[in-house]
Protein backbone atom coordinates (compact mmCIF):
# COMPACT_ATOMS: atom_id res chain seq x y z
CA UNK A 1 0.00 0.00 0.00
CA UNK A 2 1.16 3.51 -0.71
CA UNK A 3 2.14 5.69 2.19
CA UNK A 4 0.90 9.23 2.88
CA UNK A 5 3.22 12.28 2.84
CA UNK A 6 5.85 12.61 5.56
CA UNK A 7 4.08 15.54 7.21
CA UNK A 8 0.94 13.43 7.69
CA UNK A 9 2.98 10.55 9.15
CA UNK A 10 4.80 13.01 11.41
CA UNK A 11 1.53 14.42 12.78
CA UNK A 12 0.13 10.90 13.34
CA UNK A 13 3.19 9.75 15.29
CA UNK A 14 3.37 13.01 17.25
CA UNK A 15 -0.30 12.80 18.26
CA UNK A 16 0.14 9.16 19.41
CA UNK A 17 3.35 10.09 21.28
CA UNK A 18 1.63 12.95 23.11
CA UNK A 19 -1.30 10.67 23.86
CA UNK A 20 1.13 8.24 25.53
CA UNK A 21 2.79 11.09 27.43
CA UNK A 22 -0.64 12.23 28.58
CA UNK A 23 -1.31 8.78 29.95
CA UNK A 24 2.01 8.75 31.78
CA UNK A 25 1.31 12.18 33.29
CA UNK A 26 -2.13 10.98 34.41
CA UNK A 27 -0.78 7.96 36.25
CA UNK A 28 2.73 8.82 37.39
CA UNK A 29 2.22 12.53 38.08
CA UNK A 30 -1.33 12.34 39.44
CA UNK A 31 -0.55 13.81 42.89
CA UNK A 32 1.41 16.67 41.36
CA UNK A 33 -1.35 17.32 38.80
CA UNK A 34 -3.97 17.36 41.56
CA UNK A 35 -1.91 19.81 43.63
CA UNK A 36 -1.33 22.07 40.65
CA UNK A 37 -5.03 22.03 39.72
CA UNK A 38 -6.01 22.83 43.31
CA UNK A 39 -3.57 25.75 43.28
CA UNK A 40 -5.12 27.10 40.05
CA UNK A 41 -8.57 26.84 41.58
CA UNK A 42 -7.42 28.69 44.69
CA UNK A 43 -5.89 31.38 42.47
CA UNK A 44 -9.29 31.94 40.77
CA UNK A 45 -11.80 31.83 43.66
CA UNK A 46 -14.43 34.03 42.03
CA UNK A 47 -14.45 32.03 38.82
CA UNK A 48 -15.15 28.82 40.77
CA UNK A 49 -17.59 30.39 43.20
CA UNK A 50 -15.52 29.65 46.29
CA UNK A 51 -17.21 31.04 49.38
CA UNK A 52 -14.67 30.54 52.12
CA UNK A 53 -16.76 27.75 53.63
CA UNK A 54 -14.44 24.70 53.81
CA UNK A 55 -17.16 22.11 53.21
CA UNK A 56 -18.60 23.84 50.17
CA UNK A 57 -15.21 24.85 48.76
CA UNK A 58 -13.85 21.32 49.16
CA UNK A 59 -16.74 19.97 47.09
CA UNK A 60 -16.19 22.57 44.38
CA UNK A 61 -12.46 21.88 44.41
CA UNK A 62 -12.97 18.10 44.10
CA UNK A 63 -15.42 18.45 41.23
CA UNK A 64 -13.15 20.84 39.34
CA UNK A 65 -10.05 18.71 39.84
CA UNK A 66 -12.08 15.72 38.65
CA UNK A 67 -13.09 17.69 35.53
CA UNK A 68 -9.44 18.50 34.82
CA UNK A 69 -8.38 14.89 35.25
CA UNK A 70 -11.25 13.82 33.00
CA UNK A 71 -10.00 16.23 30.34
CA UNK A 72 -6.51 14.75 30.56
CA UNK A 73 -7.93 11.24 30.43
CA UNK A 74 -10.00 12.06 27.36
CA UNK A 75 -6.94 13.66 25.76
CA UNK A 76 -4.94 10.46 26.37
CA UNK A 77 -7.55 8.09 24.92
CA UNK A 78 -8.52 10.27 21.98
CA UNK A 79 -4.96 11.16 20.99
CA UNK A 80 -4.07 7.47 20.85
CA UNK A 81 -7.15 6.85 18.75
CA UNK A 82 -7.06 9.79 16.32
CA UNK A 83 -3.35 9.24 15.65
CA UNK A 84 -4.15 5.71 14.53
CA UNK A 85 -7.22 6.84 12.57
CA UNK A 86 -5.02 9.34 10.73
CA UNK A 87 -2.37 6.70 10.01
CA UNK A 88 -4.79 4.16 8.55
CA UNK A 89 -7.16 6.60 6.83
CA UNK A 90 -4.29 8.53 5.21
CA UNK A 91 -2.82 5.23 4.00
CA UNK A 92 -6.14 4.49 2.32
CA UNK A 93 -6.19 7.97 0.79
CA UNK A 94 -2.66 7.45 -0.56
CA UNK A 95 -3.62 4.07 -2.00
CA UNK A 96 -7.09 4.61 -3.50
CA UNK A 97 -7.59 8.34 -4.20
CA UNK A 98 -6.37 9.16 -7.70
CA UNK A 99 -6.77 12.93 -8.23
CA UNK A 100 -3.83 14.71 -6.59
CA UNK A 101 -5.86 17.76 -5.53
CA UNK A 102 -8.49 15.59 -3.85
CA UNK A 103 -5.79 13.61 -2.06
CA UNK A 104 -4.35 16.87 -0.77
CA UNK A 105 -7.71 18.06 0.51
CA UNK A 106 -8.39 14.74 2.26
CA UNK A 107 -4.90 14.69 3.80
CA UNK A 108 -5.45 18.23 5.10
CA UNK A 109 -8.89 17.43 6.56
CA UNK A 110 -7.75 14.20 8.20
CA UNK A 111 -4.51 15.69 9.56
CA UNK A 112 -6.25 18.72 11.05
CA UNK A 113 -8.94 16.39 12.39
CA UNK A 114 -6.30 14.28 14.14
CA UNK A 115 -5.55 17.29 16.34
CA UNK A 116 -9.08 17.01 17.79
CA UNK A 117 -7.84 15.71 21.17
CA UNK A 118 -6.20 19.09 21.84
CA UNK A 119 -9.74 20.21 22.63
CA UNK A 120 -9.67 18.09 25.78
CA UNK A 121 -6.37 19.66 26.85
CA UNK A 122 -7.88 23.09 26.27
CA UNK A 123 -10.88 22.01 28.34
CA UNK A 124 -8.66 20.71 31.17
CA UNK A 125 -6.82 24.04 31.42
CA UNK A 126 -9.77 26.30 30.69
CA UNK A 127 -11.87 24.69 33.42
CA UNK A 128 -9.22 25.74 35.97
CA UNK A 129 -8.78 29.27 34.69
CA UNK A 130 -12.29 30.15 33.58
CA UNK A 131 -14.67 27.74 35.27
CA UNK A 132 -16.43 24.61 34.07
CA UNK A 133 -19.14 26.05 31.81
CA UNK A 134 -16.86 28.57 30.10
CA UNK A 135 -14.16 25.92 29.76
CA UNK A 136 -16.55 23.55 28.03
CA UNK A 137 -17.84 26.30 25.75
CA UNK A 138 -14.37 27.41 24.67
CA UNK A 139 -13.13 23.87 24.07
CA UNK A 140 -16.24 22.93 22.11
CA UNK A 141 -16.55 26.10 20.04
CA UNK A 142 -12.93 26.65 19.10
CA UNK A 143 -11.39 23.19 19.03
CA UNK A 144 -13.59 20.12 19.39
CA UNK A 145 -16.29 21.12 16.92
CA UNK A 146 -14.14 22.48 14.08
CA UNK A 147 -11.43 19.83 14.33
CA UNK A 148 -13.93 17.04 14.87
CA UNK A 149 -15.90 18.24 11.86
CA UNK A 150 -12.71 18.25 9.80
CA UNK A 151 -12.06 14.60 10.67
CA UNK A 152 -15.65 13.62 9.89
CA UNK A 153 -15.69 15.42 6.54
CA UNK A 154 -12.35 13.85 5.63
CA UNK A 155 -13.61 10.37 6.47
CA UNK A 156 -16.87 10.92 4.58
CA UNK A 157 -14.83 12.07 1.59
CA UNK A 158 -12.75 8.91 1.79
CA UNK A 159 -15.89 6.80 2.09
CA UNK A 160 -17.37 8.47 -1.01
CA UNK A 161 -14.23 7.68 -3.00
CA UNK A 162 -14.26 4.09 -1.79
CA UNK A 163 -17.95 3.71 -2.63
CA UNK A 164 -17.61 5.04 -6.18
CA UNK A 165 -16.78 2.59 -8.90
CA UNK A 166 -13.26 3.29 -10.10
CA UNK A 167 -12.02 2.39 -13.58
CA UNK A 168 -9.25 -0.24 -13.59
CA UNK A 169 -5.77 1.20 -12.98
CA UNK A 170 -3.56 1.81 -16.02
CA UNK A 171 -0.34 -0.25 -16.04
CA UNK A 172 2.42 1.57 -14.15
CA UNK A 173 0.04 3.14 -11.60
CA UNK A 174 -0.97 6.81 -11.60
Amino acid sequence: MRRPPLVVIFVAILVIAFGELGGAVLSQLRPATTRWAAARIAANPQVHGLTGSPEYDDTVREQTVFATEAGLSFFHTHAEGTGLVLFFAATLVASVVRPRALRGVLYALLTVGALFPLGYLVYAFAVLQLGRETGIEIAETWVLTPLGASAIVGLIGLAVVLARREPAAAPGGR
Binding site: L6, I9, I13, E20, A24
Partner: protein
Protein backbone atom coordinates in the same frame (compact mmCIF):
# COMPACT_ATOMS: atom_id res chain seq x y z
CA UNK B 1 18.35 7.89 -2.18
CA UNK B 2 14.84 8.20 -3.61
CA UNK B 3 12.07 8.22 -0.96
CA UNK B 4 10.01 5.06 -0.65
CA UNK B 5 6.38 5.69 -1.62
CA UNK B 6 4.95 2.47 -0.27
CA UNK B 7 4.83 1.07 3.23
CA UNK B 8 7.37 -1.58 4.10
CA UNK B 9 6.00 -4.16 6.52
CA UNK B 10 7.84 -4.65 9.80
CA UNK B 11 9.40 -8.06 10.57
CA UNK B 12 6.94 -10.92 10.70
CA UNK B 13 7.73 -11.54 14.38
CA UNK B 14 6.59 -8.01 15.23
CA UNK B 15 3.31 -8.46 13.35
CA UNK B 16 2.79 -11.83 15.01
CA UNK B 17 3.35 -10.30 18.46
CA UNK B 18 0.86 -7.52 17.71
CA UNK B 19 -1.76 -9.90 16.34
CA UNK B 20 -1.34 -12.23 19.32
CA UNK B 21 -1.82 -9.27 21.63
CA UNK B 22 -5.03 -8.43 19.75
CA UNK B 23 -6.19 -12.03 20.14
CA UNK B 24 -5.47 -12.00 23.86
CA UNK B 25 -7.23 -8.63 24.18
CA UNK B 26 -10.32 -9.94 22.40
CA UNK B 27 -10.34 -13.19 24.36
CA UNK B 28 -9.86 -11.17 27.52
CA UNK B 29 -12.81 -8.98 26.67
CA UNK B 30 -15.00 -11.98 25.89
CA UNK B 31 -13.91 -13.77 29.06
CA UNK B 32 -14.72 -10.74 31.16
CA UNK B 33 -18.36 -10.97 30.19
CA UNK B 34 -18.66 -14.77 29.82
CA UNK B 35 -16.86 -15.55 33.09
CA UNK B 36 -17.78 -12.41 35.01
CA UNK B 37 -19.23 -14.32 37.96
CA UNK B 38 -16.44 -16.89 38.11
CA UNK B 39 -13.78 -14.20 38.01
CA UNK B 40 -15.50 -12.18 40.74
CA UNK B 41 -15.87 -15.34 42.85
CA UNK B 42 -12.20 -16.21 42.38
CA UNK B 43 -11.11 -12.71 43.36
CA UNK B 44 -13.43 -12.59 46.35
CA UNK B 45 -12.24 -16.00 47.61
CA UNK B 46 -8.68 -14.81 47.30
CA UNK B 47 -9.44 -11.62 49.23
CA UNK B 48 -11.19 -13.49 52.00
CA UNK B 49 -8.13 -15.75 52.28
CA UNK B 50 -6.01 -12.64 52.95
CA UNK B 51 -8.08 -10.63 55.43
CA UNK B 52 -5.11 -8.71 56.85
CA UNK B 53 -4.06 -7.53 53.41
CA UNK B 54 -7.51 -6.06 52.72
CA UNK B 55 -8.19 -4.79 56.21
CA UNK B 56 -11.13 -7.11 56.78
CA UNK B 57 -12.36 -6.88 60.36
CA UNK B 58 -15.03 -9.56 60.48
CA UNK B 59 -17.93 -7.09 60.53
CA UNK B 60 -20.14 -7.82 57.53
CA UNK B 61 -21.22 -4.23 56.75
CA UNK B 62 -17.66 -2.92 56.87
CA UNK B 63 -16.07 -5.87 55.07
CA UNK B 64 -18.61 -5.92 52.22
CA UNK B 65 -17.78 -2.31 51.36
CA UNK B 66 -14.06 -3.08 51.39
CA UNK B 67 -14.55 -6.18 49.26
CA UNK B 68 -16.76 -4.28 46.79
CA UNK B 69 -14.14 -1.57 46.36
CA UNK B 70 -11.39 -4.15 45.75
CA UNK B 71 -13.59 -6.11 43.33
CA UNK B 72 -14.30 -2.89 41.45
CA UNK B 73 -10.56 -2.33 41.05
CA UNK B 74 -10.10 -5.98 40.01
CA UNK B 75 -12.71 -5.55 37.30
CA UNK B 76 -11.25 -2.18 36.27
CA UNK B 77 -7.82 -3.77 35.79
CA UNK B 78 -9.25 -6.40 33.47
CA UNK B 79 -11.15 -3.76 31.47
CA UNK B 80 -8.07 -1.56 31.23
CA UNK B 81 -6.07 -4.58 30.04
CA UNK B 82 -8.63 -5.25 27.30
CA UNK B 83 -8.69 -1.61 26.12
CA UNK B 84 -4.94 -1.06 26.25
CA UNK B 85 -4.10 -4.36 24.59
CA UNK B 86 -6.45 -3.56 21.67
CA UNK B 87 -4.98 -0.11 21.30
CA UNK B 88 -1.32 -0.91 21.82
CA UNK B 89 -1.42 -3.72 19.25
CA UNK B 90 -2.48 -1.17 16.64
CA UNK B 91 0.14 1.30 17.85
CA UNK B 92 2.81 -1.39 17.49
CA UNK B 93 1.70 -2.24 13.93
CA UNK B 94 1.47 1.41 12.82
CA UNK B 95 4.65 2.66 14.47
CA UNK B 96 6.87 -0.26 13.45
CA UNK B 97 5.57 0.08 9.89
CA UNK B 98 6.68 3.71 9.92
CA UNK B 99 10.07 2.72 11.34
CA UNK B 100 10.62 -0.03 8.76
CA UNK B 101 9.73 2.34 5.94
CA UNK B 102 11.55 5.49 7.04
CA UNK B 103 14.55 4.41 9.13
CA UNK B 104 17.32 3.59 6.69
CA UNK B 105 20.14 2.79 9.12
CA UNK B 106 20.07 -0.71 10.59
CA UNK B 107 20.93 0.09 14.21
CA UNK B 108 18.31 2.81 14.82
CA UNK B 109 15.73 0.76 12.92
CA UNK B 110 16.33 -2.32 15.04
CA UNK B 111 16.46 -0.30 18.27
CA UNK B 112 13.21 1.48 17.47
CA UNK B 113 11.42 -1.72 16.47
CA UNK B 114 12.62 -3.37 19.67
CA UNK B 115 11.50 -0.47 21.90
CA UNK B 116 8.11 -0.12 20.24
CA UNK B 117 7.34 -3.84 20.08
CA UNK B 118 8.51 -4.85 23.53
CA UNK B 119 7.08 -1.70 25.10
CA UNK B 120 3.78 -1.90 23.28
CA UNK B 121 3.17 -5.60 23.87
CA UNK B 122 4.39 -5.58 27.45
CA UNK B 123 2.64 -2.50 28.79
CA UNK B 124 -0.97 -3.79 28.79
CA UNK B 125 0.10 -6.92 30.68
CA UNK B 126 0.64 -4.65 33.67
CA UNK B 127 -3.13 -4.31 34.07
CA UNK B 128 -3.57 -8.08 33.98
CA UNK B 129 -0.85 -8.49 36.60
CA UNK B 130 -2.42 -5.76 38.75
CA UNK B 131 -5.79 -7.52 38.75
CA UNK B 132 -4.30 -10.96 39.33
CA UNK B 133 -2.33 -9.76 42.35
CA UNK B 134 -5.13 -7.79 44.03
CA UNK B 135 -6.59 -10.75 45.97
CA UNK B 136 -3.23 -11.71 47.48
CA UNK B 137 -1.49 -8.34 47.82
CA UNK B 138 -4.25 -5.74 48.01
CA UNK B 139 -5.11 -2.93 45.60
CA UNK B 140 -2.28 -0.50 46.31
CA UNK B 141 0.58 -2.97 46.75
CA UNK B 142 -0.32 -4.89 43.58
CA UNK B 143 -0.55 -1.55 41.73
CA UNK B 144 2.94 -0.65 42.91
CA UNK B 145 4.26 -4.05 41.75
CA UNK B 146 2.65 -3.66 38.32
CA UNK B 147 3.90 -0.08 38.12
CA UNK B 148 7.56 -0.81 38.77
CA UNK B 149 7.73 -4.18 36.99
CA UNK B 150 5.66 -3.35 33.91
CA UNK B 151 4.11 0.08 33.39
CA UNK B 152 7.18 2.21 33.99
CA UNK B 153 9.73 0.13 32.03
CA UNK B 154 7.47 -0.93 29.17
CA UNK B 155 5.51 2.31 29.00
CA UNK B 156 8.79 4.20 29.15
CA UNK B 157 10.15 2.13 26.27
CA UNK B 158 7.09 2.94 24.16
CA UNK B 159 7.21 6.67 24.91
CA UNK B 160 10.94 6.77 24.19
CA UNK B 161 10.42 4.89 20.93
CA UNK B 162 7.57 7.15 19.80
CA UNK B 163 9.40 10.38 20.62
CA UNK B 164 12.50 9.08 18.85
CA UNK B 165 10.37 8.12 15.85
CA UNK B 166 8.69 11.55 15.85
CA UNK B 167 12.14 13.14 15.91
CA UNK B 168 13.35 10.93 13.07
CA UNK B 169 10.26 11.73 10.97
CA UNK B 170 10.60 15.43 11.73
CA UNK B 171 14.25 15.37 10.73
CA UNK B 172 13.40 13.69 7.41
CA UNK B 173 10.71 16.32 6.85
CA UNK B 174 13.13 19.15 7.58
CA UNK B 175 15.65 17.70 5.17
CA UNK B 176 13.18 17.87 2.26
Amino acid sequence: MAPIDTWRLPPRGVLLAAVLLLVVAEVGGASMSRYKLELARWARTGMLAHPDVHGLVGVRDVDERTLDEALFRFDAGLRLFHMHAEGMALVVIASTTVVTTLARSTLPRRALIFLLTVGGVGYPLGYLIWSALIPAYGVERSKAIAEWLVWIPFGGATILGLLWLAGLTGALLARR
